[in-house]
């Protein structure tokens, strides 16, 4: 017999990643069958309940309190276990103490020639910290979310005047001089510079460029709001100026969700009037624009990250592009073959796609592709507001959810680090007899879970089993945004997923296409051709 106990520590804070680590450590204590140490947010309490780990004590906790939830053997000594948990909580950081500081000032004194900072504190506190850094001429990668818009504008104006980068807020990714900052992959270095107002967009783009055999000079993430009117593209423009002056960069790519029209015009005009290098734009979900005469031949417009990466490589080396197209990006015949094989296994009732994503840009790109192929889909971040899910935890018809959104991350680590929420959701979706396809993105690299494929195995097997016992076949598609050089090794991750019957596609765009073909249950070759011509190659 097992018993469940909750202990609440009032006003006790640890960051979400530390809590995840503490939970894993607590599970290893003798007598503990399961454990979760979380902040007492509503979301966390709800998940504890789902995992059978919540008691009345835990229910009473607030956002500022820590809940230690333990499932222990009946015969275990709870006092001893608690003592061990307390030890974990109060243990000093394991890494060398001499590089830990308790104030920014002392850290600045210790590293006098610091040239960049990563700031990932709660957004409302970020302004003061970033101001101090800019004063010292230090570039900033601002990972934090919830930074007030007026703070972002203020900080970016100061940075722009000083010629400093403020990458963010809400910039998950940057690659500077080959170093991964935040969530980023180990990619080849090469002649392509990229500025992105789209975190996983930057990851997918850099990964695909690298897989195609080319590489990246710098990957600058500027945060999604940079290309909206209030911020006016300040850091995007500054990055373009830097790339234009950087002798290593030959081709520049700009990746974002649709910019505000005035900002888009500003960017295109700037490129037209002030640059000489070759450019690729990828405004995912944006309207196709008329390429000015002066830019014809040196600016390529693309609709997907897949196309943007291929076109950027093409501008560098046409031969590399031809090889990459064949090797990496699967001709239409292959995609049709995969889809047909899956369609044959589905029952009549199965018709819906369920995308369970961890990457915001990948969620968005998938919806843009679905809109073209199967129409609007429900989401917690829908393209069409009429398709807003009333409850993000429950799918309706075709649904694509971004599990990295606020409602899934309050007081928790991001699903790229902690897959718990997605694991529960995969099993939930499998119980729905109308579901034909589940789509999963695996964004690996620095910052992410050390082995997400293995962490998903049990849930994937359970989902397949649920469907099988109900006389159904459930198609699970995956795409891995990652390289073989990443700590998790994309190839190994792929093998693990394939061993569980998952179909792994080489790009997010191709995963979306495959899912749409399966859900439609008939292959319209003309539609596929149109998709390849419009979404997988660029427009000059």
């Amino acid at each position: 017999m097992a018993i469940v106990k909750n202990f609440v520590k009032k006003n006790f804070y640890r960051d979400s990643v530390q809590l995840l680590h503490l939970s894993e450590e607590a599970k290893k204590i003798e007598g503990v069958l399961d454990a979760a140490i979380v902040m007492g947010t509503e979301l966390n309490k709800e998940l504890l309940e789902k995992q059978g780990l919540l008691t009345e004590e835990g229910k009473a906790a607030t956002d500022n309190d820590m809940i230690i939830a333990l499932k222990i053997e009946e015969t275990a000594n709870i006092d001893e276990i608690l003592e061990k948990v307390e030890k974990l909580l109060t243990a000093p950081p394991e890494t060398a103490a001499e590089t830990y500081y308790y104030s920014l000032e002392s850290a600045l004194d210790a590293l006098k020639d610091a040239n960049i900072a990563i700031v990932s504190i709660p957004g409302q506190y970020a302004r003061d910290v970033v101001l101090k850094l800019l004063e010292r001429d230090i570039h900033v990668h601002l990972f934090s979310d919830h930074v007030p818009l007026e703070h972002e504008i203020e900080l970016k104006k100061i940075a722009y005047e000083k010629g400093l980068l403020v990458m963010g807020p809400e910039a998950g990714t940057a690659i500077i001089n080959g170093v991964a900052l935040g969530f980023a992959n180990v990619v080849n270095r090469g002649p392509i510079g990229v500025v992105a107002a789209a975190g996983t967009g930057l990851q997918e783009f850099t990964v695909l460029v690298s897989q195609a055999g080319s590489g990246i000079t710098q990957g600058i993430g500027v945060g999604g709001r940079d290309v909206k009117s209030p911020v006016g593209g300040l850091m995007t423009l500054l990055s373009i100026k830097a790339f234009e002056a950087d002798p290593e960069t030959k081709v520049v790519a700009i990746v974002s969700k649709p910019p505000s029209p005035d900002v888009q015009d500003k960017i295109i005009n700037y490129i037209m009037e002030n640059t000489k290098k070759k450019y690729v734009t990828c405004f995912i979900g944006g309207k196709t624009f008329e390429i000015p005469e002066k830019l014809k031949g040196r600016l390529v417009q693309t609709k997907t990250l897949h196309a943007a990466a291929l076109e950027a490589v093409k501008l560098v080396d046409e031969k590399l592009y031809e090889e990459a197209k064949k090797k990496l990006f699967l001709p239409k015949e292959e995609i049709i073959k995969i889809a047909e094989a899956e369609i044959a296994k589905l029952s009549e009732k199965q018709k819906y796609v369920r995308g369970l994503f961890t990457g915001g840009t990948l969620t968005f790109e998938t919806q843009v592709i679905f809109k073209e192929l199967i129409g609007d889909v429900y989401s917690n971040t829908p393209l069409n507001p009429e398709y807003q899910l009333p409850d993000a935890r429950k799918s309706i018809k075709h649904t694509v959810v971004d599990l990295g959104e606020e409602e899934f991350t309050a007081g928790r680590a991001h699903p790229m680090i902690d897959p718990t929420i997605r694991l529960l959701r995969i099993v939930d979706e499998a119980k729905d007899p109308e579901v034909a396809v589940i789509l999963l993105d695996f964004v690996i690299g620095y910052g992410s879970h050390p082995d997400p494929a293995t962490a998903h195995l049990d849930a994937i097997k359970e989902a397949k089993k649920i469907a099988e016992e109900d006389g159904r076949h459930l198609t699970i598609l995956a795409h891995i945004t990652g390289t073989e050089k990443d700590p998790q090794n994309a190839k190994k991750q792929e093998e693990i997923l394939r061993s569980a019957g998952v179909i792994v596609l080489p790009t997010n765009a191709l995963m979306a296409l495959t899912a749409a073909l399966i859900a439609e249950k008939k292959i319209d070759e003309k539609k596929v051709d149109k998709f390849y011509n419009e979404f997988l190659v660029g427009k000059y």
Binding site: D15, V17, P93, A110, G163, G447
Partner: protein, 57 residues
Amino acid sequence: MVEKILKLFKSDLKVINIGLEFFYKSLKDQNVKAVHVVWQPPPKVEKDLQDILSKIL
């Protein structure tokens, strides 16, 4: 105007990490010179106490 950025592109990174500790660990894994600032939210102070404090300080 972009001199400081071009200088960054040519330099070894020396990073101050403020907030999430695991970003610091990622940097160490990549053999990047970095220091970590342990950050805690400012303690929540009751309003009446805050009023008194603001009078004293």
